[in-house]
């Protein structure tokens, strides 16, 4: 009687593959329950609102979303203009203090010079089929990037939450950004 027990137990015991499948299932359950995923996370702080500097956060955000990253971009100070429905359409270059532009600094300070360099950059963007700021923002939103507008600077600049593109999160501050950065695999300040 007792000698038959071990072989009976062997017959009933699950195979290695079954056990592996069960472990995987349990891990998935735990991950779902704790809200943890395998997805990497990127947190960007966007502080600049010139036409050239709107690009790095948007390009990195959309690309990271293509990598299936969980992406948050926290916009503060001039970075808010990238999310501003009206102002994002007319982001400008700053001629002064930019030695890469074909304008010497002594001339760059002249009135109207920013308009000239902005036109120049806009033409280059169009000629090269580079995505526009609006396109990149739209694409990123579609891909699930979370864009946040800093509440404090919104009030400082006298912006209303209705001024921003649909899908932008408002009512967040530095603590939210810091929490995101603490959880992220990549943190960038632009």
């Amino acid at each position: 009687m007792s000698s038959g027990t071990p072989s009976a137990a062997t017959d009933d015991s699950p195979s290695r593959a079954e056990l592996a499948a069960r472990v995987e299932e349990l891990e998935a359950t735990i991950a779902a329950a704790t809200g943890e995923t395998d997805r990497k996370k990127m947190s960007i702080i966007a502080t600049k609102g010139t036409l050239d500097m709107a690009y790095p956060p948007l390009i990195l955000a959309s690309t990271a979303a293509a990598f299936d990253f969980d992406v948050t971009v926290f916009h503060t100070f001039w970075g808010l203009d990238i999310l501003h429905e009206e102002r994002s359409k007319s982001l400008k270059m700053s001629s002064i203090g930019n030695p890469s532009l074909p304008v010497p600094n002594a001339l760059a300070a002249l009135p109207g010079m920013d308009r000239v360099t902005t036109k120049l950059m806009e033409k280059r963007i169009a000629d090269n089929d580079t995505a526009t700021v609006a396109e990149l923002l739209e694409t990123s939103l579609d891909m699930g990037v979370e864009f946040q507008a800093c509440q404090m600077t919104m009030e400082l600049m006298d912006y209303d939450e209705t001024d921003f593109h649909d899908g932008v999160t408002t009512g967040v501050g530095a603590a939210t950004a810091l929490q995101d950065m603490a959880d992220a695999d990549i943190q960038l300040l632009v």
């Binding site: 390009i59 690309t63 293509a66 990598f67 299936d68 089929d129 995505a131 694409t139 891909m143």
Partner: protein, 81 residues
């Protein structure tokens, strides 16, 4: 050339520059089923390195082949899950 796999869909991103080839490839892959193969036609020379990097860093996709033609770079990406 591409006898090892069947192309399910072709994505034309000719003319588009960084980051659009990768971003549009990802969107197109999302619309396919596991096992499907996406052919991507690009003119951006950076797409060769970028699509390779994207495919190795992104779960659920596999880069099968890249071809450098005259002005056009062709990439074959399989959705694996």
């Amino acid at each position: 050339m591409s006898a090892a796999f069947d192309i399910t869909e072709t994505l034309d991103v000719k003319g588009a520059s960084c980051p659009m080839p990768v971003v549009k490839t990802k969107s197109a892959i999302d619309g396919l089923d596991a096992g499907d193969v996406l052919e991507v036609l690009a003119t951006d020379p950076g797409s060769v390195s970028d699509i390779d990097g994207w495919a190795s860093g992104t779960p659920g996709v596999e880069l099968l082949e890249q071809e450098t033609g005259e002005d056009v770079y062709t990439h074959y990406v399989r959705k694996t899950e």
